[in-house]
Symmetry: C2
Subunit: 456 residues, 2 copies
């Protein structure tokens, strides 16, 4: 069935692409102070288009950082409401000399559109807006109630949107969220992400002597905080990647046999992944689990950096008074951040070597989430995707955490449909980021059909 909206989208595709290129020309790099005005310009670009296509109550919501963009259309009485999310900010483009065409001059090449933000996330935001435009223009209305909320600090972990979601839940009331910031598992394979890992991010600070000491004079009698941290870390995680905190796996819910079977049939080759993505000699991790299980369905513990002491070039013979390890854990259902941190903290305190004081701090945390594949909006998405792509949807998880999905769940009670159209080799956060042009087109069609299906 070709909806009128699909026809409109097809007829207007060249313009949609031109508009996206104009959006991509705005260097809205959220982390750079010199691009502050560009971020606002990108937000205003969205505001202007949302108004033009008939979204109402459109405007900027100021935060301590870059503004949010909000709009709604709430005239589909009796129909469900969707909260559409994306972000207009982008990563820095550096290193510039590795780009084959300028990062902020969108260029078509080999069926792709190359630019910083092409797929992460401006291209996908634009697919969402153009799906709304197609529905509105073709039908004179939207099939369901819609709220849009775009942020400009996704790439810097800004708190603006989380604060707004937590403080103004009534303004964002909806039945489900639609998040387009993910990717297909493989080219041509319609994909829905139905699980994210949660996390706790901690700092473990170890203090020994009251001041930095000379390692010649005091080496052998004064505690060395780095050595103490090494012993702590070695007792937190063994060389196979197994976490050694007692009871830490007790609340891990294993994937269902059906889910495991589905993962096994995904086009995924561990050796290819090792060679092209990780590049290490061998892959590591818990024995008895596949790479997808390890990264999607098992908790992990990682050390990100160990500040303190002497890190310059050359030699300095200091026994530092203190040292720190930045350690995070990824969580899977039904682990909770609060309980996990409590277990982590009390275990670290218990195993801390004599002679040092240890302080364990929680910097931030996020819940794991799992959306049932039988959720009605997931089912509607599956139907829409099959129609557009001609294939059954694969349900994957992500090892990462999308904090806003947890916030939508926790503060708004909304499950998220994570429908994205990137490709694994789209170079997000790297030079030569691209959006496969066909995916931009099929993405708009998928979103149109999804909103029609989800309206029931």
């Amino acid at each position: 069935m070709a909806s009128k909206a699909l026809v409109f989208a097809e007829q207007n595709h060249a313009r949609f692409l031109d508009e996206l290129k104009a959006l991509l020309r705005i260097p809205s790099v959220s982390t750079l102070p010199e691009n502050k005005e560009d971020c606002r310009k990108a937000a205003e670009f969205l505001v202007a288009d949302l108004k033009k296509i008939g979204i109402e109550n459109v405007g900027l919501i100021e935060t301590e950082g870059h503004p949010l963009v909000y709009g709604d259309w709430l005239h589909a009485a009796g129909k469900p409401t969707v909260l559409i999310y994306g972000h207009y900010d982008v990563q820095p483009a550096e290193p510039l000399d590795e780009w084959l065409s300028p990062p902020f001059e969108p260029t078509e090449r080999n069926g792709n559109l190359y630019a910083r933000g092409a797929v992460d996330d401006k291209g996908q935001v634009w697919a969402q807006i153009k799906a709304l435009e197609s529905l509105m223009k073709a039908d004179g209305k939207l099939p369901m109630n819609v709220r849009v909320l775009f942020e400009g600090e996704e790439e810097v972990g800004g708190e603006g949107i989380a604060n707004y979601v937590a403080s103004k839940p009534a303004n964002l009331k909806a039945d489900f969220a639609l998040v387009s910031d993910t990717e297909l598992f493989a080219p041509g394979l319609p994909t829905l992400c139905v699980g994210l890992r949660g996390m706790i991010y901690t700092e473990v600070e170890v203090r020994g002597a009251k001041t930095d000491l000379h390692s010649g004079m005091y080496g052998g009698a004064a505690p060395n905080p780095f050595v103490s941290l090494a012993h702590i870390i070695a007792k937190l995680k063994d060389e196979d990647g197994k976490i050694l905190i007692p009871g830490i796996y007790d609340n891990v819910i294993p994937p269902s046999p059906e889910e495991l079977k589905a993962w096994k049939s995904l086009p995924f080759d561990e050796e290819h992944y090792r060679e092209t993505e990780v590049g290490s000699k061998v892959l590591v991790g818990e024995k008895g689990y596949s790479v997808l299980e390890r990264t999607w369905a098992r908790p992990t513990l990682e050390v990100h950096g160990m500040p303190g002491g002497f890190i310059g070039a050359g030699a300095k013979t200091v026994i530092p008074a203190k040292a720190m390890a930045k350690i995070s854990m990824r969580l899977v259902p039904d682990m909770t951040p609060a309980k996990t941190f409590e277990m982590f903290k009390s275990y670290v305190e218990k195993i801390a070597p004599v002679g040092v004081d240890v302080e364990v701090r929680l910097l931030h945390s996020g819940d794991a989430c799992l959306i049932g594949v039988d959720n009605k909006y997931v089912q509607a998405a599956t139907k829409a995707l099959h129609e557009v792509w001609g294939k059954d949807t694969v349900f994957i998880r992500s090892g990462g955490s999308i904090p806003i999905v947890g916030d939508f769940d926790r503060h708004l009670g909304q499950p998220s449909v994570m429908m994205g159209f990137g490709l694994p080799d789209d170079n997000i956060h790297a030079p030569n980021e691209k959006f496969h042009l066909k995916n931009f087109e099929l993405g708009i069609q998928s979103l149109i059909r999804f909103l029609e299906e989800a309206a029931g």
Copy 2:
């Protein structure tokens, strides 16, 4: 017996002190580019005085950094030759607001002379020069042949003197060296340092993935270099401070029973040391050894810093492609740096976890040294000290390394008599550095009598 030189020293002491104050007013901070000319000024101050008192061939020896000061007097036919060493450069004075009187305005207070460099090492250099002057003026000659060599880069680890010693050994030919850059074990207690630990300073670099990876996406499958380093470090040294490299203690020569007995009778209280110097909850280290044994006569292994990954404020979820640990070991006789590094390197390579590449680099090294207390110059020093201080000399070691002492030994074949007059609370490298005025006076007397005794 009061030698004529002692009488001269007593009669001229006020002038000696005034001259030292003039030297201390020159801010010869070797690490600061803005004090480059001051360093040269301090060197020239020494040159001028050495010429004035009758030392010959006095002049500056240029290096890539601050110049060396050389002079000699070689007219004592049939007598031994001493190479007198000290340094004219000082540490920075910061933090300035903690000084009770300006660091470069020498001030007498409570029987002490306060100034940056008062005891480390200008005051001790000046005691050496004034001992020479007293001998020369009182007797019209020196009791033995003398060479002096002062450097201006001791506080920055400059290579100038080492290069000169290695390349021009004939210019520094002597029977022994006299180094005045150490301290008394306790007030009023004449002390000779007869042992120094050696060292190897290494970098252990661990590489996992080919690039930094996101800990959400890849956590569980990609190797984490910090976790690998933690396992390596935990296997290098146990929580009691015992080094776990097989065979590492095989070449450790224990102190003699006499030496151990002498150490036990030193005025040293471990609890006081813990509280006032280290400030940790408890002292750590190898079981079965006293603190003095641990720091003077046992090898140790310390981690100084672990560069790599994310060390900023807040959270970044990176699995770094590589991480490094700066690890040094202190060595005691008969461990050699070359053999120890070989053992360290091959053990680290052997225990490196799977999935990572490890590279072990040697940054620099130095030999341990031990001067026999029966050495005739040590015996002469002991006799001189007893006469001046009225007490038996205590023989101590230092846990640190004085590289120049190793260089004198290795390149010149000279044992060093390390006779210094600082006190443990003289605040070297800290605000309110001081030289106890009585020690300056007794130091000059000790050096006079030592040179007389050493002449035979």
